[in-house]
Amino acid sequence: MKNSVLFVLVLTATLAAKADDPTPAPGTKTVKLCDNKTTVQVSNDAPKTREEGQKISDELMAQWKETNPNSTWEQGEIEAHQVVTPADNSRLVGTGQSSTYGVVTQQTVEVWKNETYKTALYGSKVFHSGDELGSEIAVSCDMCHPRAANTHPETYPKFQPQLGRVAMLRDMINWCIEHPVRGKVLAADDPKMRAMEAYILAQRKGTPLDYGKR
């Protein structure tokens, strides 16, 4: 009995060590993905060609996708909720100077757009999910605000008599999370709050600002 417990302990320790820092089998080396977790063993004799490199990275990505099944949620979000896309800055390609990149390239413009869009997409995901909002009663924002309708972000800040002070959009988001949604109030810089602000503003693209409007 004592022996078997000891054996189990030793085995667990060995496995844990393997997962953390795998000892490569003789004649191979370990290649790690940039997530610092996913690894493959590559033979020391493998030819150092581009094809071989591609094979290794494909294998790593296949493993990563298996452990991250929701990695394509953005695609689902785009199809389901048709989030409005951010401004197109292609006119700047090849001109001027970007503070980060020197010259603005097509890739620069794509990065700007994709990163901004991804924030709004994440906002849409939270907005449409009672679970993401931590709702105790399975209520989400879209139930009263399909496609963020009637959220009128262009009218904030404005004096909100029910709150007794000037409200920013995020104050109203939090009010709705706390009361109709019965979820957990978010910090002003919570990634979910930032993303929801991005989504609500995205859906109202092109509307003139009119702060204080009732």
Binding site: E79, I137, A138, D142
Partner: protein
């Protein structure tokens, strides 16, 4: 067999007149009643029947003068309760109970209560059972309609078990009523490999573009055609559909894809009123001989669509997010002797709003309801 002439005694005629009067009074508000009585008095005088003025005869004269044979009546509605199971969300349960109290308190009682669909939120058996259990407390008879939230988990199986077929018709006091399943969708789930819960969840998202457009569909239109073939074109028609039977705004399925085909079937009738759920707001429209009225929800209000609003719609004020029952409610409908249908929106915590048939039939000139001060953004 030869027809035996039936001679009624003075007492029988008196009691019949009396019964008709009280029936008439039940379906009229005080203003209409005064109009009827004055008109009736004039008609009675003209006919040299002044000595009968103390009797109940004038009301019958008034009906006869308008050329209608209907007694007129009222019914109430409750719609779109979107129940989860009690443990998940007790707020929607309380709100439906409030509506049940409302209709039970009506005096006189409505002839029946109509439920406008979306009893459940995610179409589960437990949700529908809970809804059925609550609606059993309604004193008046209840007529049920199905909504997409009741349907797309088991494709109507449990709803049908509880409430019977989703398409049916009945006659009540000279009006032909049709209840129509208008929220069929083309198969979007098989190709995407969705299971029943995912299919239901997709349809449950009003703004989820993965789903198809609502439609009555060929088989149901065929059923409707057969049903209406039996009905005289002068009979007033009241049609219940969950989605509006016209095209308002496709991204939220405020829409019926084959609306024109359904309207064509209703066109030959003199007077048609369509009552629909799904839109959770005060909403009215008029297309040819068809008048449309939307029903309020007891769960949550929807904003008005950013495009495609019918010109005749009078918007309710923007719901106040600080009042969890604002923009919600139930309502009553008065069916007048000539088949015109007036809608009274019983908005909780607000003044009621009435949208009259005469407002719609006059193209918005007469009986204009109170306009909102806080319109949609």
């Amino acid at each position: 067999m030869s027809k035996i002439p039936h001679i009624k005694s003075v007492e029988t005629r008196y009691l019949e007149e009396r019964a008709r009067l009280f029936q008439g009074l039940q379906s009229l508000d005080r203003r209409s009643f005064l109009k009827v009585s004055t008109g009736a008095a004039a008609a009675a005088l003209a006919a040299g029947a002044a000595n009968h003025f103390h009797s109940f005869l004038p009301v019958n004269v008034a009906y006869a003068a308008e050329g209608a044979a209907l007694p007129g009546f009222s019914f109430a509605y409750i719609s779109d309760s979107h129940l989860y199971i009690k443990k998940t969300n007790e707020r929607f349960v309380r709100q439906l109970l409030r509506a049940v109290d409302d209709v039970n308190k009506l005096d006189p009682q409505p002839d029946f209560v109509f439920f406008g669909g979306d009893l459940a939120q995610l179409g589960r058996k437990e949700e529908l059972d809970l809804g059925a259990q609550i609606l059993r407390n309604i004193k008046a008879p209840v007529h049920m309609m199905v909504g997409e939230h009741d349907w797309f988990y088991d494709m109507g199986h449990h709803w049908n078990e509880l409430f019977g077929p989703e398409n049916y018709s009945f006659d009540h006091k000279g009006v032909h009523f049709v209840v129509l399943m208008s929220v069929h969708e083309k198969d979007f789930w098989t190709a995407r490999g969705m299971d029943a819960a995912e299919r239901m969840h997709t349809v449950a998202g009003l703004d989820n573009a993965m789903q198809s457009a609502f439609e009555v569909g060929g088989p149901t239109r065929e059923w409707l055609k057969k049903d209406l073939d039996k009905v005289s074109k002068s009979t007033p028609l009241i049609v219940f559909s969950h989605s509006p039977l016209y095209k308002l705004y496709r991204p939220w399925n405020f829409w019926t894809d084959d609306a024109e085909d359904v309207q064509a079937l209703l066109k030959p009738f003199d007077r048609v009123t369509v009552l629909h759920g799904h839109t959770h707001q005060v909403l009215a429209n008029s297309i040819g001989n068809i008048q449309f009225q939307g029903m309020l929800s007891t769960a949550w209000p929807w904003p008005y669509a950013p495009q495609g609003m019918p010109a005749l719609t009078v918007q309710m004020n923007r719901p106040n997010p600080f009042d969890s029952n604002d923009g919600l409610g139930d309502g009553q409908l008065t069916v007048h002797p000539d088949g015109m249908v007036d809608m009274l929106y019983n908005l909780w915590n607000r003044n009621p709003m009435q949208v009259k048939a005469s407002y719609l039939s006059s193209g918005g000139k007469n009986d204009k309801p109170v306009m909102p001060t806080l319109a949609s953004y």
